[in-house]
């Protein structure tokens, strides 16, 4: 086991799979000579050549659409969006073609799209978004949101192996901030199985991505008050591990759903609605949601700090639930 950053773990997972399976190739803007805006594919073109690490034109539909065609021809394409925000330019292809081809025509579309997402460094309205909720609503797509280096590698390999279109949301704010032990060998982590990030008895926090770490800090503060918080890291938002969430909800009977994307119509609503319906008898308090307010992601630090859910806000929310 080596200690890797979240970013290194992603590179490692991708490199591992490209060495093992020559059907895997990478396409995106500046992924070749430059190694990608975040250097995830640094050195890949030297190792795998120009035709397995393709610098694409500035054309997201061409990039993702071409991945679909190549996948149908038996390849295992991995597209990189320079920022998750730009996936909006491939929305039509993903929801219209990639998501529905298996159901309509029986044709699987095993593509992976890597999406550097999330805020926290004044990226502004177009370099900070978390668009997973929009895609999680589209039947046929899968959405992966790793929170740790170990998951980042294992889930990426699973995404590439998966016979469906998988959107892999890698959180930019975790890239270099989060380090962890990562097995050197190849391994997979099943899509759809949550991870209990922290065991607890009094309140369950359901979250994913960077918010897992925010929740963790908040949980530590609640310990001081003698409130024990369980944190369920969904790992994948679609499919999402309903059994694990309901299990934790029934155990603690109080649930907080937390995400960085905006609140209204965010995927947290699906989780909250499901828990409130299916664990109705077991709840000792309303299912609470903490998420970003319904605005674009602002640029200036004081605004962005007020936009992205912070530890204090989560602590306050947990206390409210504890006292309920």
């Amino acid at each position: 086991m080596a200690e890797l950053t979240y970013l290194q773990a992603i590179s490692d997972g991708l490199r591992t799979e490209m060495r093992r399976d020559k059907r895997v190739f990478v396409i995106g803007e500046d992924v070749g000579v430059y190694g990608g805006a975040f250097k995830v594919t640094l050195g890949f073109q030297e190792e795998f050549g120009h035709w397995r690490v393709l610098d694409a034109p500035l054309a997201e539909t061409a990039i993702v659409g071409a991945c679909t065609g190549a996948a149908i021809m038996g390849m295992r394409p991995v597209a990189e969006m320079q920022f998750a925000d730009f996936i909006s330019c491939a929305w039509d292809h993903l929801v219209t073609v990639a998501a529905k081809q298996r159901y309509r025509a029986g044709t699987p579309v095993p593509i992976t799209v890597r999406l550097p997402s999330g805020g926290g460094f004044s990226g502004g309205p177009f370099h900070s978004q978390n668009p997973e909720s929009s895609f999680a609503h589209i039947p046929g797509l899968k959405c992966v949101c790793p929170a740790t280096p170990e998951d980042a590698k294992g889930l990426l390999i699973s995404a590439i192996e998966d016979p469906n279109p998988v959107l892999y949301f890698e959180h930019k704010h975790l890239y270099r901030r989060i380090k962890g032990e990562v097995p050197e060998e190849r391994y997979t982590i099943p899509l759809g199985k949550a991870r209990t990030h922290r065991e607890g008895d009094d309140i369950s926090v359901i979250t994913w991505g960077a918010m897992v770490h925010t929740a963790d800090e908040a949980a530590q503060q609640l310990d001081a008050d003698g409130v024990s918080v369980e944190i369920i890291d969904l790992r994948t938002v679609m499919p999402w591990d309903k059994a694990a969430v309901l299990g934790s909800a029934r155990k603690t009977s109080k649930v907080l759903v937390l995400h960085e994307d905006t609140r209204t119509g965010g995927f947290g609503a699906e989780i909250a609605a499901t828990v409130a319906e299916e664990a109705f008898e077991d709840l000792d308090g309303p299912v609470k949601r903490i998420a970003a307010p319904d605005t674009p992601v602002p640029f200036s630090p004081p605004l962005e700090k007020a936009f992205i859910p912070q530890v204090d806000g989560v602590v306050a929310g947990l206390r409210e639930l504890a006292e309920y």
Binding site: T61, G65, G69, M73
Partner: protein
Amino acid sequence: MAVAREAEPVGSLSEVREAGLDREDLLGVYRNMVLTRGIEERGHILYRQGKIPGSFYTGRGNEAASVGIATAMGADDVGTPLHRDMGVHIVKGVEPWRIFAQYMGRADGPTKGRDGNVHMADSKLGLIAMVSHLPAMLPVAVGCALAFRIREEKRVAVGWFGEGASARGDCHEAMTLAGVRKLPMVFVCDNNQWAYSTPSHLEFATEHVADRAEAYGFEGIVVDGTDVLAVYREARRAIEKARSGGGPTLIESVTLRMEGHAVHDDAFYVPKEMMERWAESDPIESFRTWLRTNADMTDAEEEEITGEVKRTLNEALRRADESPLPDASSLTEGVYASPEDLDTPHHK
């Protein structure tokens, strides 16, 4: 104004032989055109009988174009035909009864009743099922060509689009990627002069769609889409050029949409004279005459073909009608693929 090359009509039988078709092949081509139209004509009847749910589209007038292009494709070449390109499915060998089953939303249609019309394809025949959104399949076709290039296979991808859909961004992005990477790709524009009720001059500002090819670094060709042999020859050239590393070609096949946009549309907006003029160059009738004069097709041969097509259609209709409607219990199956689904020739 740069103009794409305008293809010559094909003259003699010997010229056709050069292009790779012997007399037998030609009769086969004729048969496929007749069958293509037959299927869509029967579809019309089914529709009027109330047996086809939703709307219904045909490619009347486009039989030469769709059959001509598909005839030029190699067995391992792939394509993304559209709603005017029934002939492609026919040439590639889809069973007619399954098409009728598809029309009627039956369980034995290629999409098991999940999609309708010609929104279908048999991937084993190298075809990929179209979506409604136009021309969303072009980037997909380019992706197939990219896979061939990466694996250094001598295969070609063919992507179809309408002259109206040429206005959409997908068309541009697909051609841009194919052009800069010189992919083994042939773009085929079914220019039937109308996009629903919208005439070409409101869709693009050049004389021909093919005039745009050079903006993407490849050759554009304009061919009479009612002349199956000219279409075949140009497609063959373009496909073999792509196969040998020459990069993409854009073939614009000019026809007239000989019916309304779909069955509900009487096409009042198409000038009567325009319809009449084009009716004179009906692709099937023209090729029949050509075969008679240049290949001495006999009455017997002709009756043989029309008879066989008729039997095929009757049999196909009977069999399709026996196919049940899908069971509601199948509704939620297969939204996601499972690993076994990748167990195809492509996915070895």
